[in-house]
Symmetry: C2
Subunit: 255 residues, 2 copies
């Protein structure tokens, strides 16, 4: 199994603090050393970094810990291979374009006997169950809505149905974003925290590091962090229910 | 106009030396400071770095100059905006998937009145003529060959025809790769050099830096570098003919 991290905010925010703790699980405080990746939306564009080295030793992970890329939607993943070789093309997150937007996807879990019919519009480059699931999701969204993106409520309903069908094949914890909303589905384990005014000092669980968010934010900032295991020891993390799909917009889950 | 750099090799090779000279044109020895990008194939996977900062000041460009990523196919671009805002989504190279392979594309030139009919399979995320051309190329390749990639000779012939049609709209110097072959088309200016045994010491034009390739290669290595303007002062660069599409495989142009 792998670990997932995502961030959704109402203003572009850097993920340096949370990524620093998360990256340690890629070979130091945990055993996820079969690659890692992170994608940042910046406007309509995406910065996409993947590496098949362990996150703790990767020079690119080092850069991201030091270089504050500001984004409203970020998805990161550290990999412990279950299906698919240790290779760059199997590193999450995956990126595809649909409806003139980039979509970013990462998955934690293991889908058994999941070989959906793919019509060729989106085809996996690597050999993971995860990329197959991503290609299938986009294919089905396009089949339902044609060439025009639907309103968010319709998209959410369609994803809930599609994701629950895929989750019948096994654990399907996922993060998906088109740069405006962040979709997070929990099969087995996910939790989130919303950081907003009044901001506190947060203490990383994976390293002796803390940050006083009140010093680096404005009272209007709001940031949701969604992750496999809580990243800090002194914040209140909310657990997802198994089978739950949450949609985060502007730093908070939609009702 | 922008500048292009590509590398095609028979064994995975790092591009640190050539990129170091090239990146200086992104704001130092030349005026291409509206962003830059580079993509490296590694197996079937792609590492894709884009930045809307000038290449000379970008921390990510600095990383690439120091971190020897080895690849058989690399495409890089520094941008001087002609069409499209200075924004991440307008930075080349662009990446899409077709036939279960990633395709990487970068363009130097300016296409006038180029608004092809796009059927929705590949749609631009940004607002450049270049990304429109890339989407159109992939759409037409898929329309001709369906869901199965054709042999290289057929692909080359189709691309030659499609590219020449697009080039009727203006300058269309381009680099395109699917990770196995590198296609380079010249409208106005491109040149290349093949580095092979016996290797010499090369001297960068843009910086007082040289490298003795005989120290860092084996006699079997072969590397083609294709670029807008020659990068070195003491190698023999071959100019493309306007209208010429060359295909590089294993470090040399096909006949």
């Amino acid at each position: 199994m792998c670990q997932l991290l995502a961030m959704n905010c109402n203003v572009p925010t850097d993920i340096v603090f949370s990524f620093t703790g998360f990256a340690l699980r890629g070979g130091s405080t945990d055993t996820h050393h079969d690659g890692w990746g992170i994608a940042f939306f910046e406007g309509a564009g995406v910065r996409h970094f993947v590496d098949h080295q362990a996150a703790v030793t990767s020079p690119i992970a080092e850069l991201i810990k030091r270089y504050p890329i500001k984004s409203k939607n970020v998805i990161a993943h550290i990999r412990k291979a279950t299906q698919g070789r240790v290779a760059l093309e199997n590193c999450h997150p995956f990126v595809r374009e649909l409806w003139g937007r980039y979509w970013v996807f990462a998955h934690n879990g293991d889908l058994k006997h999941f070989f959906p019919v793919l019509d060729g519009a989106f085809r996996p480059v690597g050999d993971t169950d995860s990329e197959r699931a991503f290609c299938f999701l986009l294919q089905e969204l396009r089949a339902r809505f044609g060439d025009v993106a639907p309103p968010l409520a319709q998209l959410r309903a369609a994803l809930a149905e599609l994701v629950s069908g895929i989750a019948a094949h096994g654990a399907f914890n996922l993060m998906l974003s088109d740069g405006s909303a962040l979709f997070a589905h929990c099969s087995t384990r996910l939790c989130y925290v919303v950081r907003q005014y009044p901001f506190v000092t947060a203490q990383l669980s994976d390293e002796d590091l803390n940050v006083d968010f009140s010093q680096v934010t404005t009272p209007d900032d709001r940031v949701a962090i969604i992750v496999t295991e809580p990243l800090t020891t002194n914040e209140r993390w909310t657990e997802f229910q198994p089978g739950e799909l949450k949609v985060f917009v502007d730093g908070q889950p939609l009702p």
